[in-house]
């Protein structure tokens, strides 16, 4: 099992969410974060002239999923979240030791299964 942490543009959240839903990703957490990567920051207009802001609002999406679904999900996020400009974000993938669903006590792969989720859909190579 893996955890995907995708840091994307705020304005791309609905596109990415939509694409993930079509793929069959059922659960996710979304966090509002601030930061910057190579983009550095943006220039804002002040009373006179401009100034630099280096911590920009971004959105972080957390998804836990089975190993065999990771590549498809990464591809989907990249396609839906890309503008081609600096500041599109980063994706980090981590190993996950255990998953427990609190309501049923189910563990790991069982806990990750939902009716109609990514594993019940045909794999369409993109």
């Amino acid at each position: 099992m893996k955890k995907i942490e995708a840091i994307i543009r705020e304005e791309k959240l609905s596109d990415v969410k939509e694409a993930l839903r079509e793929l069959g990703i059922v659960g996710m957490n979304v966090l509002e974060v601030r930061g910057h990567g190579r983009q550095g920051g943006i220039t804002l207009v002040g009373r006179t002239g401009t100034y630099q802001v280096d911590l920009l609002p971004k959105v972080q999406i957390n998804i836990i999923l089975s190993d065999h679904n990771v590549e498809r999900t990464i591809t989907t996020i990249c396609e839906a979240g890309r503008t081609g400009e600096a500041g599109d974000g980063m994706i980090f993938v981590y190993p996950v030791e255990q998953v427990i669903r609190i309501r049923t006590g189910e563990r790991n792969h069982e806990a990750l299964m939902y009716p109609g989720d990514i594993d019940t859909r045909p794999q369409t190579p993109k």
Binding site: T43, L44, V45, G46, R47, T48, G49, Y51
Partner: protein, 407 residues
Amino acid sequence: MDAINSGDTAWILISAGLVLVMTPALAFFYGGMVRRKNLLSTLNLSFILIGLISVQWVVYGYSLAFDGDLGGLIGGLRYVGLNGVGGSPSSYAPTVPHLAFAAFQMMFAIITPALITGAFVERVRFKTFLVFSLLWATLVYDPVCHWVWGEGGFLRNLGALDFAGGTVVHILAGFSALAFALAIGPRKGYGRSSFEPNNIPFTVLGAGLLWMGWFGFNGGSALAANGLAVNALVTTNTAAAAAALVWMMLSWQERKPSVLGIVTGAVVGLVAITPAAGFVTPLAAIVIGGVASSISYYGIKLVKQRFGLDESLDVFACHGLGGLTGALATGLFATKTVNNAGADGLFYGNPAQLLIQLVAALAAIGMAFVVTFVLAKLLDKTMGLRVTSNEEEVGLDISEHGERAYA
């Protein structure tokens, strides 16, 4: 003495209310531009002056400014405690109760030191600020108010025109801000990291309320509900409008039309028309607002970029330069066709008026700058002007007031 006119009196009372609201409006205008950790502190620097200066004015401020005359420099002490200032008219405003005039003037005395606070937000020690403000009101505002507006004041006798306080309010505040900023030094990290305004909508709201309040500020300065008050209201609105448009275009040609810039422009237009509002035509107001807007725009760049001075919220560029522009423009555009009790300016065949305006402005500039700088330096040695470096990092809301703006 004329009889009391109820229309005039009603207008002065309403104007007093309008000018009062300008101080909380200014608090929001400034509050929006600081960092979130200093929002309450910045709001309070203006708000508390309603408390402090109201009491000062009643106890002795009004008397120093408007009771009689000592050598053209200061008033007397007969009106201490507003003693004898009552329901009968005074020579200052022959158709309204003397007390209404004193109350209206009180609001000007309050907002003037509040304007200065933009120079030292985010680092001033609150206790020292209170002492400074009381001393400044006593040693700078009250005397210069007497010079320009008090009967026997030497600038009034000279023939200086200041309809609603371009010199008394804005030149004093602007040049005092410059002196204070030099004395207190920059905010920690100034020039290295950018200080982003925490809430520009507050600033827009503040500017809008200031604009409305200015109708009382300038319109009320006619001291009657008459054609002159209307002229002042229209020139005031016109200058603000022109100045907002000019600032928008300057900002646009540099990058994009900044909203913070547009509302700043409007305030600069209001500042610049203040001394002229009851002496010039609406057409002249367009020129005055537009020219003042560009002078302040480039003034900010000069102060911040060229001299690297952390005069934090541009009080000098907006009020000092705006007030000076207005004072001199009054010497150009004033005409007796607008106000028979005024004078003609250079463009109406009286070049001497421009010189008089310059002398009055220079006297106010000298007084404001020198006394403020000396006061600030003395207070720095004795009480300390600034909070500690650690308190500044935490923010003045927590360190000075033990509160925070948002949970």
